[in-house]
Each structure stands twice: as C-alpha cells, then as structure tokens.
C-alpha cells in the first residue's frame, strides 16, 4: 500500500475518539504468555481469570460443558482452570477481552463468525507450527488470533462503507481484502497494522497482521507471516471462514508461503496435507464450543 494512503489512514484513525482501546487484561496476559509453556504461572492465570466475573463464570460453565463430560460439577475457578487446561483458558481470556474491544452495537460482521475465524486460525496456526517444528508456537497462536483485528478497526472508523464492503464480498463471493481495496482503498491488513502499532504489539506480530493477505516476498515476513497466511487460507476453505463461499482452487504446494516454509522446515515436504485438512474439522467443533461459551454470556 502507498505510504501516502497509509499516512492518511493513520491520521484518520488517530483522529477518531472511538479508536479501539487495548483490553486491560490483554497486556498482562501477553506478558504472562511470553515464556515457555512449562514456566507459565498457573496462579497468575487464575488471578487474571478472577479479575473478571463474567470470564470466571464462562470458565466454570465451559468446564462443566458436554465437551468435557464431567461426572462431578466444577465449582471453583481454580478447578475449572486446571480442568480446562492452560490453552483453553487462554482461548477464553483472549476471545473475551478482544470481543470487548468494540461495543456490541458497532459490529458490521457477525461477532461470533469473526471470533470463530480468528480462534480457528489461531488453533490451526499453532498446530501447523508444531508440525513443522517452528519454535515459537505461542507466537504462532497469537498471530493467528490477531491477524484480522483490522476488521474491528474498520467497524469503528468506516462503519457504513465497511458494511457495503462486507455485502459486496458476500454478494460477489470475493475475498474480503479484494472487496475492501475496491470500496475503501485500503484493507483490514492496513488498518490492523495501525491498531497493532498503537497497541505496541511486538513487531513480528504487527508484520503478520499487515502481510497475511499479500505476503509478497516471503523472506520479508519470515515463517510467521507464511504460517498465518496459509492457516487463514485453510480456515476459509474449511468451514472456519467468514461464512460465505469463495469459489476457488488452492494448490498449497504452489503457494509462495508454502514453498518458503518448505525451505525453512524441510519436514513440511513430508506432511500429509489431506489428513491435516481433515483434522481441521475437529477444530471446528472445539472452536464452536468456545465461541458459544463466550457469546452465551
């Protein structure tokens, strides 16, 4: 995107009072997660959960849900957290805090569809990272989760135009970024980048947000961008997209991001991609459960 357009967009975003604020819980959560999985402090997570009555209630509700099929009801937050496992608790915390970023009446896309896609992408991205041996699987998760936050910005700063954009994408069955480029002159990758910078999110995550549609030269964004790009594509092809049909054929083995990752992580060449794709349907169930827990509140 042209620097000039980007600057104009930046001044437009900063000129608006309604710029989404970073959720209070997000920064300590990110800090807490910015360490190896085995060193994550369970007490700290329980503490963070307890800050917010509604999140705590959701943890308890989810721990008691059919997905876990428990015979004894879970009552305490701590037991709920331990039963759910760190990952699910984080999923809940993130989707909760992020779903409060914009007021309920400002959503242009269906929020549950948005979170379904974001969480789906986060899970796929993490799994993908594990399979190929990308070392920072948590970062991959976060990048997947946050890759579309520009959609939230668009809901806030250009609600009417963005509504027309979304309708265009649904009607013409075209990718969202293509519809945005045609109607807004910028995409959610651009506005997402500006928000991420304002939130002082680490530069590699900012890049993943900015480049996930047009990865260009994969060297520039590195493996993280390629991972998010491919996971986003997979999700949109596997019932974890924005809920409309994008008629196309994707040959992953020929995607620049894939070719780049194969060079960096040679074992990707041996991946049974068909089987990996089939397993994504298992994620769809888990994500569905999570999203309905968050939105049942």
């Amino acid at each position: 995107m042209k620097t000039e357009t980007l600057d104009r967009l930046r001044s437009r975003i900063s000129g608006i009072d309604a710029m989404p604020a970073i959720p209070i819980i997000l920064r300590p959560l990110l800090r807490c997660l910015d360490q190896p999985a085995e060193q994550i402090d369970v007490n700290r997570i329980v503490e963070l959960v307890s800050y917010d009555k509604s999140i705590a209630a959701q943890c308890v509700r989810m721990a008691n849900s059919a997905l876990f099929g428990r015979s004894h009801p879970v009552e305490s937050i701590r037991t709920a957290v331990l039963n759910l496992g760190m990952w699910r608790v984080r999923d809940l915390l993130f989707s909760n805090s992020l779903s409060q970023v914009i007021p309920a009446n400002r959503w242009v896309v269906d929020p549950s569809v948005f979170w379904r896609h974001s969480l789906g992408c986060a899970l796929v991205c993490r799994r993908f990272a594990e399979i190929i041996g990308y070392p920072d699987t948590e970062k991959a998760y976060l990048a997947g989760l946050l890759h579309d936050i520009g959609v939230l910005v668009n809901c806030m700063i250009v609600p009417n135009e963005f509504r027309a954009t979304v309708e265009k994408a649904y009607r013409e069955h075209i990718p969202m970024d293509e519809a945005e480029q045609a109607t807004l002159g910028f995409t959610h990758s651009d506005s997402g980048r500006i928000l991420a910078e304002a939130w002082k999110i680490t530069p590699d995550l900012v890049q993943a947000i900015e480049l996930h549609h047009e990865i260009g030269d994969p060297e520039r964004g590195g493996p993280l961008v390629a991972l998010v790009h491919l996971s986003d594509l997979l999700c949109r092809l596997r019932d974890l997209g924005y809920g409309y049909y994008e008629p196309r054929q994707i040959d992953f083995a020929n995607e620049p991001g894939w070719l780049y990752l194969v060079m960096q992580f040679p074992n990707l060449a041996e991946l049974d991609l068909a089987r990996f794709t089939f397993t994504l349907d298992e994620y769809a169930k888990e994500v569905g459960e999570l999203v309905s827990t968050v939105f049942a509140a």
Binding site: L237, R248, A253, V262, D272, A274, T279, E282
Partner: protein, 302 residues
Amino acid sequence: MSNDSTMLKDEQLSVESLTDPVWIRIRDLIYQVSGIYQAENKFYLLVSRCSRRMKAVGARTPREYLEFLTARPNRDAEMRNLLNEITIGETCLFRSMPQIDALRKVVIPSLAEAKKKFSFTKLRFWSAGCSTGEEPYTLAMILLEETQTRLKGWTFEVIATDLNDRSIAKAQEGIYNDYAVRNVPPEFMKKYFTPVGSEFRVNDSVRSFISFNRLNMLDDSKMLFMRGIDTIFCCNVLIYFDGKSKTRTVEHFYNALLPNGHFFLGHSESLYGISKKFRLVHFPGTTAYWKPSESTPKAGAP
C-alpha cells in the same frame, strides 16, 4: 424391562468405549489401509460401525477387535467387512454438496474457459465404481443444468463403470426410494424425476447422457482405453484395493485424464503415499486431485 436394561448397558458401553485409545489405533489402521480418515468429532460413527462388526465376530473389547483386524489369519476379509460397514448407506444422489459446489462453481467454469480457447465444446466425465448409479445421475443432472444455462451449445457425456453386473443393472433402471433422493434439491426433483409408486425414476432426458459399462479397474488392457476424460469421480472404491493395485489404478486415472483434469475421491479419502503425480488441491469444504498441465511449474510437496 429386560430390553430397557440391555439398551442402557449398550449406551454406557459406547460412552465408555468412545474414550478408549484403541479407537485411535483402529482409526489410524483404517487410514493406512484405505486412506479414509475418521475425524475425532465423528468417532461415534466409527464406534457404532465397529460395534456391529464386533458383535458379528464376537469381539468383546476394541482391543480384541483390533486383533481381529491385525493378527488373525482372515484379517484382510475382516477389514473388508469393516470398510463395507463404514461406507454403507453413503450412496445417495447429491451426496457431497461441497464436491457439487466445487464442480459447479470452480471446476466446470474453468474447464469451459480452457476448452473454449481450442473451440472444444464437449465435456466428458467418468464415474468409476458407480455402484447403483446415484453418482453418474447426479453428475449428469448437474451437467445438464449447466448446458441449459451458462454452457449453452455444449454437449457432455458421463461414462459410468462398475465391476458388479447387478449394480450396473440396478443403475440402468434408475429407480430410487425417497431415502436415496433425500438430498436432491426440489427443483432437480421436479425437473428430472418421475414418481413411480412410492419411488422415483430418473427421466430419460438424463439417462441419454450416460453410458453404463462393466469394467474391472484392475484390468490393465481395458483401462488403457479410457482416455480424454475431463473429470473423474471414484469414491470409496480404492479403499478396497491393496497398495500396489491402488497405485496402478491411480496411474490409469492419471493417464485417462486430460491435462488440468480433476480426480475426486470420497469424502475424507486421500491419495497420500499412493501417487505423487497428482497435486492435492483444496476447494471450500472438499479436496480433490489435479493433473497439472505440462506448463505448470513443479512444486515440492505434497
């Protein structure tokens, strides 16, 4: 009373057995042998199908049944029985909507686009292992619909083959009960079927586009005659072949297809470890294999 308690027992058993890690091993074994993948959210299906076979052979636990599938002398026959059980009841018209959408919205338009350049206006589809005809009739109806709308002036042909004479005969009859037509969209129902008693007969306007033939896919000399095909459907057939026969048959399919042609397998069926010539491609909700044209750059994997 006694009935009730048996039912209760069965239910408890299945809930318990759903979490048995041996199911994962059985699932992986099925995938390895047949290429059919059972996702964990569909495990109840796997379990219920295995339970039927377990009852038949007298296996009391999943572990015991795994032994029937791996260690007993007639393990191959039992795997065949299990695969039969898994794919049973899957044949109906308009079975896989994601595949049909991929055909209508992506594959046929791009085929037409490419062929138009050479002034070709004919499409040729092959339903390999057509069983009792549900698949070729579905394909013919879709192609018929296309040639009446976007592809005016085009012609097409559906070649339907199966090893089983009785299946072919049944397919030629083209009469289906309401269960087999449950997925057919109402407008297709109205246009292409005639009620016959409590059943439905496919109209001759559809039949005339299909040729039914008996064909053994392991017969190399016959397979060599199959050429110039645009799209092949072969669902839940290769799963019964051993590794070598699979590779050979897929090689025949590859040669039968025109460049840029597509090869569709059953839902959750994969060619992994069978052929590297085809390229796996993704459509919304489904996957297929694609024969690249000579000019397509070669990719690493998969």
